[in-house]
């Protein structure tokens, strides 16, 4: 009997309960903080009937110096959140969709190794949007680059145009394995969405960032780059960062430190 009790005590609380607790904590914290600080929090969790606005620009900072070799927590968290099959489990790994990839690079001269995740860079001037013949590839007001699967014809021009190899085509029928929040299907191109379903819910973070933080590496920061008080803006002010292929002048939403 004692044994039973201790077991039930050790059981972690369910995700729903955890979310409720965290929301409750945030609300309580909001009450105790100054009104100005609360306003910023409210701006990020916009009301559900309000359209995404260009007052916000979502972005991500990748600190490659903290990104650990051999760790792929961000990749598996993305696959779990968005419902794409991990490449290792795919029947056709060469054409399996990948929303985020873990890269391990080595300088051939110095043998120095760099680890970083590569995904859609959410350009301000996205080449994928320029080339799309149907207008399916588009940039949302808050800077998130998405594919409207209702109009995507699967021509893959955007995959050719993307300098970051960020997009994939779904080649196989998915047979109702999709997540209710993340519709995706055969014949459409897809890529990282900055977890748009979570952003719209007001989580203010993405699955990969949550996983990176939970694993203790803290290599990823997500936030509003237009808000000078957000964590990402502060970190971007402090750290020297680079845009991948900055020569293309695309003004990326993902910035790398330590590459």
């Amino acid at each position: 009997m004692n044994n039973m009790k201790s077991m039930s005590d050790d059981t972690p609380s369910s995700p729903e309960r955890r979310r409720f607790i965290s929301v409750a904590t945030v609300t309580a914290a909001g009450v105790t903080l100054a009104p100005g600080v609360m306003l910023i929090d409210v701006a990020h969790g916009r009301p559900e009937e309000q359209a995404a606005s260009n007052a916000v620009r979502w972005g991500m900072l990748v600190d490659a110096t903290k990104c650990a070799s051999g760790c792929d927590e961000c990749v598996s968290a993305c696959s779990t959140e968005n419902g794409w099959t991990p490449v290792a489990e795919s029947a056709h790994p060469k054409q399996a969709p990948q929303w985020i990839r873990k890269l391990e690079l080595q300088d051939p001269l110095t043998q120095a190794e760099t680890n970083l995740p590569m995904m859609c860079q959410h350009c301000e001037e996205p080449p994928c949007v320029d080339v799309c013949p149907t207008g399916a590839s588009f940039k949302r007001a808050d800077g998130i680059v998405l594919v409207n699967r209702h109009t995507c014809i699967g021509c893959r021009y955007c995959m050719m145009a993307c300098p970051y190899k960020a997009r994939s085509l779904v080649h196989e029928p998915l047979n109702d394995t999709q997540k209710p929040d993340v519709p995706r299907g055969i014949g459409c191109v897809e890529a990282c969405t900055f977890c748009v379903q979570k952003v719209d819910r007001g989580d203010g973070t993405t699955a990969c960032v949550e996983a990176c933080t939970a694993s203790g590496h803290n290599a990823l920061v997500f936030g509003d780059m237009n808000d000078p008080e957000s964590e990402i803006s502060k970190r971007l002010r402090e750290l020297p960062t680079k845009q991948v292929r900055a020569d293309l002048n695309l003004n990326l939403g993902v910035r790398y430190h330590g590459i």
């Binding site: 059981t11 972690p12 369910s14 995700p15 729903e16 559900e48 009937e49 309000q50 359209a51 995404a52 598996s76 696959s79 779990t80 099959t85 991990p86 290792a88 489990e89 588009f138 949302r140 007001a141 808050d142 998405l146 409207n148 699967r149 209702h150 029928p173 998915l174 109702d176 999709q178 997540k179 209710p180 929040d181 519709p183 995706r184 299907g185 055969i186 459409c188 748009v196 952003v199 719209d200 819910r201």
Partner: protein, 165 residues
């Protein structure tokens, strides 16, 4: 003589046509069996749809189309007219889906009306949380793919002993 025969033939034709028409219009004529009528199951959750039933039967596609563009392009995720909410209420109790078997809510009418929909090529036909909310899965739904990967790998006796402790 020839004229008489012609007149008789014409009269005969008129009589026959009228009879045929009357026969076709009569009620005791057995109806063509046709397709079986759709099964419309009452939604599991909720008392009343977001609009009256008659309106929804004729116009659900219009409101869904409008809402779909607002959601995808602008990120407006209100619950009214959201396909996800349709599924949340109308998923069958038997299959947990709106389109898995031929009696499920969406498929039932659409196969009767012979209107092919491709919503479910991309959209899940099951309500959110049906797997994660299940008491058996609540703690592990997060790691479903990892568990699946582990299920294929062989576990040594030592590891099993370690887990048991």
């Amino acid at each position: 003589m020839a004229g008489k025969i012609k007149r008789l033939l014409a009269l005969g034709a008129v009589v026959l046509t009228t009879a045929a028409l009357a026969w076709a219009g009569s009620d005791d004529q057995p109806k063509a069996s046709g397709a079986p009528k759709p099964v419309i199951t009452k939604a599991v959750k909720g008392e009343q749809c977001v609009e009256p039933n008659d309106f929804m039967r004729r116009n659900h596609m219009k409101v869904l189309l409008h809402h779909r563009d607002e959601t995808v392009l602008e990120g407006v995720r209100t619950k009214k007219y959201s396909l996800k909410e349709c599924i949340n209420c109308h998923a069958s109790e038997k299959t947990g889906s709106v389109a898995a078997s031929k009696d499920d809510f969406c498929v039932s009418c659409h196969s009767y009306a012979a209107v092919k929909i491709d919503c479910f090529d991309c959209h899940s036909t099951k309500p959110q949380g049906s797997m994660a909310m299940h008491p058996l899965n609540a703690e592990t739904a997060h790691y479903a793919h990892k568990l699946a990967a582990q299920a294929n790998s062989k576990v040594s006796a030592e590891e099993m002993a370690g887990i048991a402790q």
